[in-house]
């Protein structure tokens, strides 16, 4: 019987280091443009609301604080498309690399 052609590879793989990265003890780096948790720069924001108007997932609402208006991003609804970053005329939303966003309560997912 002819040996299955994969057998040689299986044999050599037995002696190679496993490719599994033992997360969470070791983390792989993400790409420089990875779409993770947003950063809202309140000192640049003028409260125009473009981010909220364009959000495909309706995840951004505007909150009035004193005489200013700022965006709140509900990460539970957010799809991390970053249209908000693209459309903001002042560059007040920046992308971040944090993707470890699991939490015990929905309230924790509101980003200011």
């Amino acid at each position: 019987m002819r040996l299955p052609s994969l057998l040689k590879e299986v044999w050599s793989n037995l002696f190679k280091k496993p490719v599994t990265v033992k997360y969470p003890f070791k983390r792989l780096p993400v790409s420089p443009i990875y779409r993770g948790k947003h950063e809202i720069l309140r000192d640049r924001c003028t409260g125009c609301g473009l981010c909220a108007k364009i959000c495909p997932a309706f995840a951004i609402t505007m909150e009035t604080i004193g005489d200013k208006v700022f965006p709140i991003i509900d990460l539970g609804k957010c799809i991390f498309c970053y249209q908000c970053e693209d459309v903001c005329p002042r560059g007040a939303i920046r992308r971040g690399k944090d993707f470890e966003l699991a939490s015990w309560s929905r309230g924790d997912l509101i980003l200011r």
Binding site: R44, L50, I54, D67, P89
Partner: protein, 355 residues
């Protein structure tokens, strides 16, 4: 109900946000829009386009106020805010803030052949490209279809910048090319070359928090030109035809010592007092008080220097680094401006105090 209506009720709870129609009412309909193009480039929903009659809205306005606060002629514009952002120590009543004023000219033959005066602007651009200081520049290049009609262009290489050398006396909405540079080409270190209204808009978008500062962040240098007024291209063609000159034959224009001169194949074909063209100038130029691009990093022009040299006003540390670098690397040669600065001051005062 989608986002827009919902958010409008939330944001509109504060002071009524400025929309394009406010820009239309406060600037464009009043006839003071200089068609610099900043509103078109500021709009992040791409609702505006530039036409010969000025900016026009082709999409829904989402009331972000970026066009209104980006406009150098809107009531929101503050010259003091811009001046405060310049790092220069000296201040002159009409020449504005500056670090130093000199005369300079290019050392390169390729630039000299195409230069208007000293070839300083083009040389600075070539230097900046070659040293990797910029990845693109907004220039007015010549239309391949209509002779001498300026077209706002993004030049991506030193040779493309060289192609665009030479002054065009018709207005060019240069800043619409900022959208091409930053949105379409995704450049990050753009140089803006423009006349005083465009320079004011470019500086404004860097320092006015309510303007589209995302664009301002990507502007690396602002090079300003000296400007008295501009002429609509059609009127210029008409004027030349009245003197039996076909604009497509013209090799160069210049305005020096109060004379408007037209050259065909290098030799002078027409020389008239500039006063003769008073009625051909753009109406909206009359409100401008800025001859020397008060808010640029470096301002360049012919007035105050000898033939073949350019007057250079260095206004900021960034401008100084760029200019001194070009001088040190041998791209430019410099000399003292001497009494030329008084000539410059006189003409700048004339523009600043005209009725």
């Amino acid at each position: 109900m989608i986002n827009v209506e919902r958010i409008e009720t939330q944001v509109g709870g504060l002071a009524e946000p400025k929309r394009f129609r406010d820009l239309m009412a406060d600037v464009i309909s009043k006839g003071i829009c200089s068609k610099c193009g900043m509103c078109v480039s500021s709009c992040q929903v791409h609702a505006l386009v530039m036409t010969d009659e000025g900016p026009k809205r082709v999409g829904p306005c989402r009331q972000c106020e970026a066009c209104y606060y980006g406009c150098p002629r809107s009531p929101a514009f503050s010259g003091e805010l811009l001046e405060a952002s310049l790092s220069s120590e000296n201040k002159d009543e009409v020449l504005g803030r500056y670090i130093k004023i000199v005369s300079a000219r290019t050392t390169r033959d390729d630039v000299r052949a195409r230069a208007q005066d000293g070839g300083v602007v083009t040389t600075l651009l070539i230097y900046a490209f070659e040293k990797g200081l910029i990845d693109g520049v907004i220039v007015a290049s010549k239309s391949p279809i209509e002779a001498w009609k300026p077209v706002p262009t993004v030049a991506l290489t030193a040779s493309e910048a060289l192609e665009a050398a030479g002054t065009k006396y018709s207005n060019s909405p240069n800043l619409v090319a900022l959208k091409d540079a930053i949105y379409c080409y995704e450049l990050n270190r753009v140089c803006v070359v423009g006349v005083p209204c465009q320079v004011a808009a470019a500086r404004n978008v860097k320092v006015q928090p309510k303007a589209a500062t995302k664009i301002g962040d990507k502007i690396a240098f602002i090079i300003g030109l000296f400007c008295m007024e501009s002429f609509p291209h059609a009127k210029l063609v008409e004027y030349l035809l009245s003197h039996d000159i076909d604009i497509s034959k013209v090799s160069k224009f210049d305005i020096k010592e109060g004379k408007f001169r037209v050259y065909i194949e290098g030799s002078e074909a027409l020389s008239v007092p500039i006063k003769d063209l008073k009625d051909y100038a753009n109406e909206y130029c009359h409100v401008c008080r800025d001859l020397t691009s008060l808010y640029a990093d470096v301002s360049v022009g012919a007035i105050g220097s000898q033939h073949g040299w350019s007057t250079v006003i260095i206004r900021t540390n960034e401008g100084a680094k760029l200019f001194e670098g070009a001088v040190q690397e041998g791209y430019l040669e410099v000399k003292d401006i001497g009494s030329g600065v008084d000539v410059l001051r006189k003409i700048a005062k004339r523009k600043a105090s005209k009725k």
